[in-house]
Symmetry: C2
Subunit: 134 residues, 2 copies
DNA sequence: ATAAGGTCTGTACTATACTACAGAGTCAAG
DNA sequence: CTTGACTCTGTAGTATAGTACAGACCTTAT
């Protein structure tokens, strides 16, 4: 069993070493155990965790929100009602994001159609497809 | 026909006045015409445009990317091939975002199920559902 | 055993996307 | 025709999310 130093984790998760230390300070990943030398030793799951953070970020979640998402699973069983409420709120956020993305995709597809038809791209289908849904 | 000053546009689009001037500097909205006094006078479309920016931002697009999206519609008809390529790349990005969001939603739904069953929330279904898809 | 490269803490700097003035001029309701 | 709200330019400050050292210590391959 090879030991996972911060550099290896960074390479595997495709983030920077400094970023990992930054996430540790921000509470997005647990403080790992240390060697006698002080070197951090990571469990394998950390890689998944870091990838989760990166992806969630790409989807427009802030680190604060990502922390909230991750913390959902840590709640004690007796706060179950509370956990479910928050999870359902996040699901709602996600569904709104998906709908908006789908409208954007539709608008862009329309744009490529217009394009394919060799007609000039005069009117913008992007903005028009973004109306409504507040 | 009432004139749309920056403050009115800001209220209608639900953004700050300073944000509008910032977006103008960054080229995300066109420079509007001015009164003799120097006051900006906006056309109605600006409101949709600002809403588009706000939403795209919530979906994890940077202002730079949003500008690219908006600029797609301005390309001259003869650069059609080029426009289509870029639009298709954006469609691909969007589809990836949608898939990731759907996996997150699935994971969260699973979490709420676990919750509803009154069992303790011990193992995290969120991270596990986020694997694969690079 | 030594040199190259990895890691440590701590602090400082950067990019992005605003946000907040200051000081001066403009508008419009009473 | 004033007065309070709005707008102007320009510059400075903030929050978020990293990124980059410096100076010192650790590891490992030769």
């Amino acid at each position: 069993m090879e030991s996972l130093t911060i550099g290896k984790v960074a390479r595997l998760a495709e983030v920077g070493v400094e970023t990992i230390r930054f996430y540790e300070r921000e509470g997005l990943i647990d403080e790992p155990k240390r060697r006698e030398s002080g070197y951090r030793e990571y469990p394998h799951e950390t890689i998944q965790r870091l990838r989760f953070v990166r992806r969630a970020k790409d989807l427009g979640f802030t680190l604060k929100e990502i922390k909230e998402l991750l913390d959902l699973r840590l709640e004690p069983g007796n706060a179950c009602e509370h956990v479910r409420e928050r999870a359902e709120a996040k699901i709602h956020d996600i569904e709104t994001k998906v709908r908006t993305l789908q409208r954007m995709r539709k608008a862009l597809t329309k744009l490529t159609m217009t394009c394919r038809g060799k007609r000039p791209v005069s009117e913008c289908p992007i903005l028009e497809a973004m109306e409504g849904d507040e």
